[in-house]
Symmetry: D2
Subunit: 186 residues, 4 copies
Amino acid sequence: MPATRVAVFVGSLRKESFSRKIAQALAELAPEGMTLDFVEIGQLPLYNQDDEPNPPESYRVFRQTVASADAVLFVTPEYNRSVPGALKNAIDVGSRPYGKSAWDGKPGAVVSVSPGAIGAFGANHHLRQSLVFLNVPTMQQPEAYIGNVTQLLDEGGKLTNEGTRTFLAKFMQSFAAWIEAVKKAS
Amino acid sequence: MPATRVAVFVGSLRKESFSRKIAQALAELAPEGMTLDFVEIGQLPLYNQDDEPNPPESYRVFRQTVASADAVLFVTPEYNRSVPGALKNAIDVGSRPYGKSAWDGKPGAVVSVSPGAIGAFGANHHLRQSLVFLNVPTMQQPEAYIGNVTQLLDEGGKLTNEGTRTFLAKFMQSFAAWIEAVKKAS
Amino acid sequence: MPATRVAVFVGSLRKESFSRKIAQALAELAPEGMTLDFVEIGQLPLYNQDDEPNPPESYRVFRQTVASADAVLFVTPEYNRSVPGALKNAIDVGSRPYGKSAWDGKPGAVVSVSPGAIGAFGANHHLRQSLVFLNVPTMQQPEAYIGNVTQLLDEGGKLTNEGTRTFLAKFMQSFAAWIEAVKKAS
Amino acid sequence: MPATRVAVFVGSLRKESFSRKIAQALAELAPEGMTLDFVEIGQLPLYNQDDEPNPPESYRVFRQTVASADAVLFVTPEYNRSVPGALKNAIDVGSRPYGKSAWDGKPGAVVSVSPGAIGAFGANHHLRQSLVFLNVPTMQQPEAYIGNVTQLLDEGGKLTNEGTRTFLAKFMQSFAAWIEAVKKAS
């Protein structure tokens, strides 16, 4: 059986992003038969519909990468109580041109990450609202709000908190089951 | 094969509710093998956790009705840019006591209805946020925002607009497929 | 100068509600010249527009109480990632009949309260969306998400955490300034 | 008395953007004593905190432009049921570095624009959630959801619909009053 290939989108562009570290932990915790491919978003120019007749090469590559994935996983901080502009831009790029969205029908999941207690709730649910429109059947439970993230990582950025590891492993198992369910339904 | 029994919740309590009329149209348009059971919510006292050791009989009946359904369908107006209090109360009642939510795992769908143009968008998406927590896998597409509803009904309250009929019939077919998919996954 | 009378609405009906305890702490921390009047919501029947020609006496009293207040303060838990049904119902009751909303123009503030870490973010912002429609100019900062509330109270339900006391005192001072600003603008 | 200078942010980058046309109509309808300055956002690189020690020159200019405005006005379409990535990125850029947000305390207003019936409700309210955090006191009423926008403009992109003109003129007068109120309060 071929592996399930999950495209991972990290909402923060900085190198030492906490979201990226959590995403790396998720990759390690993925169940057998699932691989996580990190898809970069920082190189995508701001979406402008006027460019559509002759889109940037980076758009073409990004859309194809999304379209070829079996599922999509978002790991993101909250910027100003919502989705970071860079991640929203990537979502917009992947959704166009009209009628050719690369997201359509891909099973999805959301993990929000924050150094604060609230766990980036605002980003998590704003993103989910977009995923309704994009027809990304998104796993409802478990929800994942990874708060106080600096306390969960060691100096090298490795996830050391055992409770969080167990939770994230379970999250990935649930996601694998969700992907199978959505695939069967199509 | 036994019929799929969908519990329907109408967000407005008034007798001539537009949402109820749309719900009735949905019942008529349901594909073969699916029946819609209207579940009343107006008799439920406001949720108070202190009543939980000895809950009102109406709670017991409501929770059992929800629990025995194969799927859940919400047809609702918007009150003050959100879910009507009566419908939110029903959701709260069904979600308790803690750990025994009657909603858990039921496939769901949302239709929002309004005499205005915006189609009760605010109610639609606030409700969806609750359904994440309640682990109700909710159909993403098609979304259903039924705006300008008074123009879609005849004097007897029957849905006469052909475009809307076609759309709602397709909505119910998609919902039937969604229910099957979620059931298989469990 | 007459005192500023703030009507307080507690989103939970249970007697030992954490939100009520935080509201009581807020009442004690209110700056001079401001009084907090607790307005009960548990006696309000579920809103049904059919009752409007002859509304329940409790509606009349509630609407008048809201209308006579100088400002409104909401202290609420989150139920299922949104506003509790009982509080949303009170909001709906106060907003009707159409064109006679008792909320119109009152300066407002929101405090959300939770035993969990996330601080009832979902209730806080869903409530804010309703307050846009109701034309309640709502204080933006400081936001108040009171998480892990059980750790902030003593056995008698008194707020003992010093950091939270300081924060809430500052919150009430900011609210007093906000009320003055909105009043001057009218 | 010096004019009130309102910085205007258009959420779409395409040249013939409907939002831009509505923003131009708003500029013409602004009451005496108010000028609207269009602030471009398409040149801003995607926000990356790693660039903060040595930020792009465009960031410096943008932040200064925002900081020097008396008020902020957002005119935006909806992309995927939320704020376009380009506009969210501009908001993020203006909000940093931490503790030096250029948005802080500016009175604000939101107009959402769509060729569809729903009037970009999702963008309007997601944006408002960010404005809470940014401490932008945002006008609650009138809300402005400009739907079916193609029917409101002539071939040259001029707003010809009389009802919409009257509404937008009133919107700008209310905004002027709101700006005065917030200024007095500071």
